[in-house]
Amino acid sequence: MAISYWRRRDRYYRLLGNRCTQCNSEYYPPAYLCRRCGSESLVDVEMPTTGQILTYTILREVMSGFEGQQPIVIGIVQLDNGVKVLGQIVDTPLDALKIGCRVRLVFRKIRDESNVGQIYYGYKFTALC
């Protein structure tokens, strides 16, 4: 996990996706080939840091590696450039969550390998509603 995380840290830290140089379609996660025009020419670009919730769930039983964090709110957010991104939604009272809420990108710990392993950081969202 440590190495696969290292490889993607710019993606996770800065929401670094990519953009097709032919048709300007943007992607996060980055696309290998443009899904719209098929172009092979894509360049890295940071995604916008605000958007709105398209859907969300409150996960009450977490996967191995996320113990102690439950409940986790997970959402699919449409960023202001139209790209849909999956991420946790934090610091928002559960009863305030709703589809359409504006959100802003934040930098958080994703998981922590107890007290001896690595700490994995990345983006999450916080609702502005």
């Binding site: 996770y12 769930t57 977490v62 999956l86 946790q88």
Partner: protein
């Protein structure tokens, strides 16, 4: 092209097999399938399995099973496509017989899930999704379906009790199915009042974790001689969609299922109206609803509502989940697609006992991996 016949089936009951290993289960199902035809030595063995590496620290299942069955020398290998592993393994076996490359094939689906903690099983299942961008964020497979369910209910104004209809149908049928994990009927209210696990999904919206194995012996026509009620595979098609739902333009469209179904129906020369019995991938109530919509049994947004209206009940127009589906019979992931085929075989052979759909002739099975990222749709007919 050879006609492909399902000569026999074998399976274990789904559930907690504390005393059986992944190989024990696979061998049990395989031997049951081979038993009626002691003179057939399958020319290929294909194993459908998703995460034996996680559950049993075991790979190389093909040769492992071949050796255990005293079938060394036989080509044998594992096929993996997440929860569609069983359906895809069936498709591969079917293709080999159909093409004439072999005249008999043993296909075995197996999964050992209960050796894992729930949180470990959840991690294993999340491997169906992007490890880098979905699993990393803590989004389990359950949570993706939770989000899908919220979007589905919101978009199509689906009520809680309508969403509960598929699980209730599944359990009604599972109550009288000998091999089902939960032989217990539950009501729509039971589903709607069960504990929230990933809202709006509740515990009883979701298929359980269970161990199990199912096997089929596929043969070309000549082995089956004058059997009056042969079950023939008319078609089997696989399709795939953009990997993660959040990368798709419309998250509520099961495009892979739609595509696979349309091709499978077309090749089989059938239309939706011809289908007498239906096994859909009801890993979650919402996935059942979206599946029947994608295949054309219900209109968009009407899947759960149609289930609530009785369309998919055993006595409905399109009897579905006739032995409990994933929810009631259980969902030993890599075996699920083969349980579906085996159950259609029972129906088409008229061996469904109290679960029998009277006079059925055409059966359809739909098995998906990921959130309809891979879909396999197969059409079977009684000859």
């Amino acid at each position: 092209m050879a006609r492909v016949i399902i000569s026999s089936v074998g399976y274990t009951r789904v559930g907690d097999h504390w005393d059986k290993s992944i190989l024990d289960l696979a061998v049990e199902a395989a031997r049951k399938a081979l038993k009626p035809y002691p003179n057939i030595r399958p020319e290929v063995i294909i194993v459908g399995n998703m995460f034996s590496s996680q559950s049993s620290k075991q790979e190389h299942l093909g040769a492992l099973l071949a050796s255990a069955l005293n079938l060394t020398g036989t080509p044998a290998f594992k096929v993996e496509a997440a929860c569609a592993s069983g359906g895809v393994a069936f498709n591969v076996a079917y293709s080999k017989v159909r093409s004439g490359e072999v005249s008999s094939a043993l296909v075995v689906g197996v999964e050992k899930m209960r050796d894992l903690d729930v949180s470990e099983a959840s991690l294993a299942l999340s491997m169906a999704e992007s490890a880098e961008y979905t699993q990393f964020m803590g989004a389990s497979f359950l949570s993706l379906n939770g989000m899908l369910a919220r979007l589905y209910m919101e978009t199509y104004n689906v009520s809680r009790s309508e969403l509960s209809a598929f699980p209730a149908i599944a359990h009604t049928n599972a109550a009288t199915a000998e091999h089902a994990q939960f032989r217990k009927a539950i009501s729509v209210e039971d589903v709607s009042r069960s504990p929230l696990v990933s809202d709006p999904l509740r515990l009883l919206d979701c298929a359980p974790l269970g161990d199990g194995a199912a096997a089929l012996l596929l043969t070309s026509e000549e082995f089956n001689g004058d059997d009056e009620s042969m079950v023939e595979v008319l078609s089997s098609k696989i399709s795939t969609d953009i990997f993660s739902i959040y990368e798709r333009d419309d998250m509520l469209r099961f495009n892979a299922t739609k595509d696979a179904a349309s091709k499978a129906f077309s090749e089989a020369g059938i239309s939706v109206e011809d289908v007498d019995v239906l096994e859909v991938h009801d890993a979650f109530s919402v996935s059942a609803a979206l599946s029947v919509e994608a295949m054309g049994f219900s209109k968009e947004g009407e899947g759960a509502k149609d289930a609530a209206r009785g369309l998919y009940a055993l006595k409905g127009r399109y009897p579905a989940l006739t032995f409990g589906g994933l929810k009631g019979r259980g969902h030993p992931v890599g075996a699920t697609g083969l349980y579906q085929i085996a159950e259609l075989w029972l129906q088409l052979k008229g061996r469904g006992n109290v679960n029998q759909v009277e006079g059925c002739r055409i059966g359809v099975a739909q098995n998906i991996g990921g959130v309809d990222t891979t879909s396999v749709v197969s059409v079977l007919a009684r000859r």
